[in-house]
């Protein structure tokens, strides 16, 4: 067995060694080929070397040339840049001036527009507003034509503000109607049509009649002014409409009375009551006075519808009595008539005394309201205080206004009744005695 194995091993070793030799041979062959190729490449490289050198030289020359050109160009750029900055500076200076001009044009035109919008002259030519509006809103620079137009229209406006003009314009009446009317404009200060004062409203692009006109004489003046060609008086508003607006703010008599509050109403009611009563009393006294005077003229014909007649009746009836009895009887009759005449007189006097007191009451309550306003809001705003103060003052006014006529009425009533009483008291006996003798 071992023999076999040995024989096999020997055999296999032999075959292996055979294989290796062939491998070696092929490797050697390959390397020989490579060496040959290498040699060839080297040869070509050596061959090319000369060529490369030539190429390098050529390239270097080119580089030099280009560098020269670069320098030249750089210099040129520098030069040009200098010129450019110079030019730019020039441009900047010129543009700066212009920019300022356009800024101020925009500013001026927007300022002017605000004035123009509230001005009475706007009613004459509404196209002008667009012009100012365009200039003040535009982002572009205005051209010379627009600039010229702008200052021309400014000049025109200045001229118009100093003259008087008549023209047709849209007018909104107090009733709300919109019509075309002949308008007379006095500078920037007043515009009238048919004696009515107007104000310009930019929202409605037309003239508006003032809801509260100046006093009647002013309206008449305006009417005369419109119709006459000569120099005449007219009322103008130097504040361009502010004063005319204030007229509307002025409280009317009704506003005043409501300001007076409850105390004011009480005073007015008492005053009206007192005056009515006084009037009634005056009429009654006058009627009886007329009757008594008539009786005095004709004492023999006794008419019992008056006080003197009644007394005379008693006198004649008892004329045969002793003088003492007669005096007592007549005295009784006179007393009866006197109370009749003097009745109600003190009521008028009371009211005349009470109304100023009530006015004082209103003053004090108004002052209380004022001081309450001061404690709540401080003294900073005079408007808050003014409300209470006007209540205080109005009640005083109302008190005085009712007391003064009441005082006159009382004087009249008291002097009239004094006259009648004196006729009855002192004169009746004398008068009758004279007739008897």
């Amino acid at each position: 067995m071992i023999r076999y194995i040995l024989t096999l091993t020997l055999f296999s070793t032999l075959s292996f060694s055979m294989d290796l030799t062939s491998l070696l041979q092929s490797v050697q062959n390959d390397s020989k080929k490579e060496m040959q190729a290498e040699k060839q490449r080297l040869q070509t490289f050596i061959d090319n070397k000369e060529k490369q050198k030539e190429l390098l030289n050529q390239t270097e020359e080119e580089l030099k040339k280009e560098e020269l050109r670069t320098d030249k160009l750089k210099k040129l750029i520098e030069e040009k840049e200098k010129v450019l900055t110079k030019k730019e500076e020039e441009l900047k200076i010129k543009a700066a001036n212009l920019g300022e001009i356009f800024g101020s044009v925009r500013q001026t035109s927007s300022d002017f527009l605000i004035n123009f919008q509230s001005s009475l002259t706007a009613s004459e030519d509404s196209n002008k507003e667009e012009q100012f509006l365009k200039l003040s809103n535009s982002k572009k620079l205005a051209n010379i034509q627009e600039l010229k137009e702008f200052w021309h229209s400014m000049l025109d406006e200045i001229i118009k503000s100093g003259n008087i003009a008549q023209y047709d314009a849209d007018v909104i009446l107090a009733s709300g109607e919109k019509t075309k009317e002949k308008v007379t404009r006095v500078g920037l200060f007043a515009a009238t049509s048919n004696g009515k004062y107007l104000t310009y409203s930019n929202d409605m692009k037309s003239l508006v009649e003032l809801t509260v006109q100046p006093s009647g004489s002013a309206v008449q003046l305006a009417k005369d002014f419109e119709s006459s060609n000569e120099i005449s008086n007219i009322i103008i508003d130097p504040t361009r409409g502010t004063l005319f607006e204030m007229i509307a703010n002025n409280p009317t008599i009704m506003d005043r009375i409501t300001q007076g509050g409850i105390v004011g109403y009480i005073i007015l009611i008492l005053g009206a009551l007192g005056l009515l009563f006084a009037l009634f009393k005056m009429i009654v006294l006058n009627i009886s006075s007329i009757k008594i005077k008539k009786q005095m003229k004709n004492i023999s014909e006794i008419n019992q519808d008056n006080s003197l007649g009644k007394i005379a009746h008693i006198f004649y009836k008892n004329s045969n009595d002793s003088i003492n009895d007669l005096e007592i009887k007549i005295g009784q009759a006179i007393l009866k008539e006197t109370t009749q005449i003097k009745k109600g007189q003190s009521f008028v006097k009371l009211l005349a005394a009470v109304t100023p007191l009530l006015g004082l009451l209103g003053t004090v309550t108004g002052m209380i309201a004022t001081f309450q306003a001061i404690t709540l809001f401080g003294t900073g705003d005079p408007k808050l205080m003014a409300g209470g103060i006007s209540t205080a003052l109005i009640t005083t006014v109302l008190g005085l206004v009712t007391a003064i006529p009441l005082l006159f009425a009382y004087t009249y009533i008291s002097s009239k009744s004094e006259e009648l009483v004196s006729i009855l008291e002192e004169q009746s006996i004398g008068l009758l005695a004279k007739t008897l003798k």
Binding site: N249, I323, V401, A433
Partner: protein
């Protein structure tokens, strides 16, 4: 020259406002009444007195109602002398009241200005202040001038009545 004074007067009335016209009106009436009274007391009354005394001389002095008749004449003449005096007194009383009215309306003007402008600018309030002070002053002046002559008138009337009473006693 006169124009200047008239202008001054008008501006005075403008400053004083509506109430000043009332005071002016009242002053005119007051002085008309006062002058009328003076004229009556010093001229017309004498004539009337003479007529009464002449009439009395016709009455027999021993009548039943001697005192009554005397009193009748005395009273009627005193009544005539005093008529209108009450109105004068009332007017003198009312003048300061109207002045006060002017003060109050002027103050209302001042506070209106304050309420509208919302400021306490003294210049804008000056108009109201002059409206407040001028009528007050005018009312006082009228009342004072009136009261002086009214008192004098009253005294002279009282004196005249007493004198007349004495004269009557002599006649009857």
């Amino acid at each position: 020259m006169i124009d200047l004074y008239i202008d001054d007067l008008f501006s005075f009335f403008d400053k004083g406002g509506l109430v000043l016209y009332f005071v002016f009106f009242l002053a005119i009436i007051l002085w008309t009444l006062l002058i009328e009274r003076y004229v009556y007391v010093s001229f017309t009354y004498k004539k009337e007195k003479k007529a009464i005394i002449k009439e009395l001389e016709d009455i027999p002095s021993q009548t039943k109602f001697k005192d009554e008749i005397k009193r009748y004449f005395l009273h009627s003449s005193s009544f005539k002398l005093k008529s209108g005096l009450d109105l004068i007194k009332t007017m003198i009383m009312v003048c300061p009241l109207i002045g006060l009215l002017g003060t109050v309306t002027g103050m209302i003007e001042v506070f209106d200005v304050m309420a509208i402008t919302g400021s306490s600018d003294v210049k804008s309030m000056a108009n109201g202040v002059s409206m407040a002070t001028i009528p007050t002053m005018a009312g006082m002046a009228v009342a004072l001038s009136g009261i002086l002559f009214e008192k004098k008138l009253e005294l002279s009337i009282r004196y005249k009545i007493q004198k007349f009473e004495l004269e009557l006693s002599k006649v009857i």
